[in-house]
Structures are given as C-alpha cells and as structure tokens.
Amino acid sequence: MECYSEQTYALLADGELAADETRRLRDHLATCWRCQKLVDALRAENHVLIESLNELPEEAASPAGFSLRRWSLGWSDLAIMAALLALGSIVSVWFDELSIPAALEWFNPFSPGGRTNLIFSFFYYFAHGGTAMLADYAAVVGWICLLLLLGGSALLLGRRGRLRHPGLRLLIVLLTLSLPGLALDRRHADFVTVAANETVDDTLVAAASIVRVDGVVNGDLIAIARTVEVRGTIKGDLITAASRTEVSGTVEGNIYTLSHTLELYGQLGHSIYGAVQSLHVDDRGHVGQGVVMAVGDANLEGEVKRSVNMVISESGDVSGHIGRDLTMIGGNRGGLMLTDTARVGGNLSAHVRQLKNVHIAEGATIAGKRDIQLNVRESRFTRPRFYVHQALWLAGAMLVGWLGLLLFPSFFQAATQLVGSGWRSLGLGFAVLVGAPVAMIVIAITLVGLPISIILFEVYLAGIYLAKVWVGAFLGRTILRPSGTTKGDWVLGLLVGLLILTVIGFIPYLGGLVHFGVVCLGLGAFAAQLYRASRPVM
C-alpha cells in the first residue's frame, strides 16, 4: 500500500480528518512503521507548539512586562511630579496646623488656591514685568541655575546612565528659561499671538499676559502667561506655567503644565503631565496616550487612550473613556465618581479614606478589577515604615543639632537658654511665624528684594526646623538637670527632649498644639538670639 502525504498526516494529528479517512489512515499506520513514526513526530510537534505558545512570553505578551514598562515610565513621571510639588509639599506640611485668619486667607501662600495663584503670579511677574530691572540679576541667577543644572544633570547622568524622557524635557525647559541667548523664537509682550495663517518653524518661547496660537508652531511652545490658548496646531510639546491653559486645537506631543486650570477640548497626541487645580477634558477632547497629574478637581468627559494616574485633592469625575487603567488617589473632599457613560479598559484602582467617597454608576463599564483601597489613618502605628520614618526623623534632628553645636556652639547653647524665657519667646515666635511670610512677600514684590526674600525664606524654614532642636535640648536639660554644660550633656538632653516631643506629638489635638507651641517657642528663641548676635557687643 502506498504511503500518504505528510500534510494528510498533519490533518490526522490535528484531528481534522473525516471518520472514514481516519480509519483508512489508521489501517495503513498499523502496517507502516515509518508513517507511524512521522505521525508520532507530528503529534509531538503540535504538543511543542501548544506548550510553547501557552507559556507566556514575558516580554511579548504578559501584562507584567507591560506594566514593567509602564512603571519605568511611572518613575520618571513621579520624579517630575515630585520636582513640581516638592517645594509646596515641604512647606505645606509645616503650615497645615496653622490657622490663618479668614481675612488674610487671600494672602496666604500656603492654601492650595493661594499657592497656585502665587506661583503663577510669580512666574508671570518674573518673566514679564521685571526683566529690564532685573537684567543683571537674572544673568547671575541664570548662570547659577545653569551651573546647578549642569552639575545636577552630570550627576544624574552618571548615576543613572541616562536621563529618561520627561526628565530630560524638564531639564530642557529649565535650561531654556535660564539661558537668554538661545536660538529660539522668543516673544515678549502683553499679548503674544500666532495668527491663523502664520507658521512658527522653531520652538516658541512666549511670556505674556495672553498667549494665543491660532496658526501652527512646528516646534514646542513654552509659555508663561496668565492665559495660554491653543486653537491652532503645535507639532511639538506644550509647556506652560499659566493661570489658565486651554487647548481647543491640536497638540501633537505632550502637555507639561503647571496651571490653575487646564481645559482640553481638542486633540492631544501624547500625554499630560503636571499639577493643576482644575482639570477638564471635554467630551470633544482626546488624549492619545495617558494622564499623570496632581489635581484639585478632575473632570474627564473625553477619551484617554491609555492609563490615567491622578492624585486628587478634592474630587474626580469620570464620564468618558479610558483605554487602560484608571488610578485615583485621594478625592477625600468631593469624592471619586464614575458615571453611567464611563468606560475603563483596564483596572480601576482608588485609594480613598472612606468607601462612601467612591461612587460607581451601575452603567459604568470597567473591564478589569475594581480595587478600592481604604487608607485608614489610624493604622500608621502598625506599619514598620512609620517607625523607620520616625527613627530617621529623630536621627536627622540629632545630626543637625550636633552639627549646629559643633559649628556654632555659643549660638546654639544661647538659643537653648532663651527658650527658657517662656512667654516672651512664644509671643515673639508667633509674631515671626505669621509676620515673616507677609514681610517676605512684600519684599519680593519690589523685585529688587527678591534675593533677600528668598534668603529670608530659607532662614525662616531653617528656623522652623531648628525650633524643635532648641526646644528639645531645653526640655532635656530641664528634666536631666546635668551638673555641667558640656556638649555631651547638651546632646544627651537633646535626645531625651526630642523623644518626649515625638511621643507627645502623637497625642491627637494636643500633639498638634504642642507642635505649634514648639515651633513658636523655638522660632522666638532663634529670632531673639539672631537679634542679640547681630547687635554690636557693648
């Protein structure tokens, strides 16, 4: 009997032959060992194929690989966000517990609204108003910035091998801002506009009250303004520091923004990164990639092709389409909400304080898992991280105290003693705490005083940090009552005092009050000692 073709045997191995044909082939196989061997080999091959395919290729197919890539992106995104928020968050930690009279609230740079407004006004003022006056000063600051940036980036490049994309962009932005002579199209007026029939071939750097693009910018648009409106097309990235950024046209690259309000009615090719008080992606709006932002109020009605990651302080509403995962952290005031029309192509993760903060309409479609995590505040004592953090905090304060004592022994010991003057220090400290920011702002507004204001601000922050060192040292001394006044006694007193202050700090309400008192006392002692030290010796 003649043998069959390999293709016929392949059909047999796949179980794709009709019953009678299968029977005929089986009859032949019973007599032909070569064909039987071939069929066995074909079956084994099928098995190899199934096995190989089903074992998921990590890189090619698994979402683990996919998320790895996203995370690496996420880290650099986070780095940018951290850079944007660092100053604000450092300061706000200290000022959370302070209450400023309502009448002065508009002036308070540490309330979210006041802070963003201040930043925008500052940027605007700095870039727009004072260049003539500040020409010399800006050159110096520019050089310092440049040196710092070059040094920093060399350090970064050396440490990490290379800079990631968004980080690099941020660097470029800072460089362009600090270098006045780059070959860019720079425009500087009250009202900068790219007319509908106009095309800018370079990157456009604009500082104005209103920047409006009706035409085409072939490079990036870097704008510092009160209002930035893009109605035309930007082929590169849009980088803004503005009170209001509005895109109703097309941005083909990314949007990097520090704005009070960001409105997207148009098309965005890539992603949005930044911090805004209010984010609105209109139902006509389309984001080609993802969103990574810190926002006050977020309202997503349009489409985002990839993931959305937002840290939200007030509320987040999603009624549009999100191609991949949606991650929202916060939203503790207004809550997080997905309406009936919301569509999430991946997982939904929300980190909230209370479950009632999350509202998911029944009609909302979520392809992946709903992962709603409660951030229970009370649980901080159960986390090891908390203790590590406290230990680091304590070690840091000890180190600062010890270094201070080594470098300025008499100043530190005198300041410690001045804490003992009680109410006087407390009153003075309170006055400094409240008065200094006002004074700094007034000095900064004159522009000439800007460097003085910045130095004052740094001294102010240092004073607030050191307050606990002096109060701690004083407290320790009072309790231990050492016979001598050696440095060792002082440091031991500091350790005991700081430990006590740390423990008291965890008592609800009282802790905050004590913390506030400590800051006032220490700051008062600091101010008094500064005053004394600056007075000529009689």
Partner: protein
C-alpha cells in the same frame, strides 16, 4: 453634578470581597459574571488577561494594538459572556472571542476585505517534498520554547495568524476558515506551511 453623584450607586465592595472571589471556582465566577457582577468580571480579567494579551500579541503586530484588543475583549465581556454555553472550557471560549476580536482588527485594517488573500498557487494540494525538514523534536527545554515562541512571533502574518488560532486559541480548521473567510483546505495548507517555515527557521530543532 451632585444629583448625578447621589444617583450613582456606591460600590459593593466589602473588605476581603476580592479575596473571596479569588478562591471561588470558575463556574461560580462565570455565573456571577453573567449576572453583571462587576467583581466577578474583574476576577475573570485578573485570571485571563495575561493569556488574552498573549494571544493578541501574537496576532497583531504592535503591543499597543494588542493591548487595545485585549481591553476591548474584556469591555465586551459583560454582554458576550451571556452567549457562553459551557460546551467548551471557558478559557478556550475566551481565547476564541479574543481571536475573533483580533481578526476584526486585522480586517478593519484591510478596510473590510479579507484578512489575507488566497494565493492561487494550488497550495491546498501541496505535497511534502522529501527534502523538507522533519517535525520539531518532542522534548524541548525552556530556552528552546522561548526560541519557538520568538520564531512564531516573527512568521509572516498569513502563517502566524492561523497557526496561533489553531494552537493557542485551539480553534478547529473550520472555525479558522470561517473567521478568516478562507477555504478550509487553504487554512490546512497555511498551517502546514507555517510549521514547515518554523522548522526551517529552527533548523537545529528538527531531526
């Protein structure tokens, strides 16, 4: 906005609810998912998203479109799961759905025409020449499996798609033919050729 917020239902999540689902057997999860239980659908996503993306990755050329297709599969699952009758194991069914989704994507790219054309060279009656490399060996190591996968991923689309549908989605020749709008014989020929091409590209694996 507030009114909308009040109308919206609070999520039915209890602490530990997710854990419960994780331990549940597949039938119960599917049953819950049929009742539009978001948590159950999420659990199905958790269990099978890797495999579905894996399939889409083989079928489509870019990671981006593969992830898009996988998202689409799970977004549609809320409705499509009603058509699952239990006649085949659920993972197989899901992979078929995913395979069809990918074919849709490929077809859309061809503006509604066939995913790929039948080449009128009589491939269906192709006979194995004696010089063709023999089937891949049975026992292969982890590294070799990686090689096989990579080689499959690099096969031309008209070989890769039927091969993956057959051995990953476990579709029958008839189903593949129907989905790709091709003759059954032609599908058989494509799969056969795909394997031969694979053997040729993995020479040291065939004996």
């Amino acid at each position: 906005m507030d009114a909308k917020r009040n109308m919206a239902k609070a999520p039915q999540l209890r602490e530990g609810g997710t854990r419960q689902m994780e331990g549940m057997d597949l039938e119960s999860v599917i049953e819950c998912a049929r009742g539009h239980d978001g948590e159950a659908l999420g659990e199905i996503y958790r269990r099978y998203v890797r495999r579905v993306i894996g399939l889409c990755r083989y079928m489509l050329d870019s990671r981006e479109s593969a992830e898009d297709a996988a998202s689409e599969v799970f977004l549609k699952l809320q409705r499509s799961i009603e058509s699952y009758d239990g006649s085949i194991p659920f993972p197989r069914w899901l992979l078929r759905v995913a395979g069809n989704q990918c074919i849709d994507v490929l077809r859309r790219r061809q503006r509604g025409r066939k995913v790929f054309m039948e080449v009128p060279d009589g491939a269906a009656v192709m006979e194995a020449a004696s010089s063709e490399p023999s089937p891949l060996g049975a026992v292969i190591s982890m590294e070799e499996r990686v090689q096989v996968r990579d080689t499959i991923a690099r096969l031309p689309e008209n070989y890769r798609v039927p091969l993956v549908l057959r051995y990953y989605s476990e579709m029958s020749y008839d189903e593949i033919a129907r989905q790709l709008d091709l003759e059954r014989n032609y599908v058989a020929a494509l799969i056969f050729r795909a394997k031969q091409e694979l053997r040729r590209r993995l020479p040291h694996r065939s004996k």
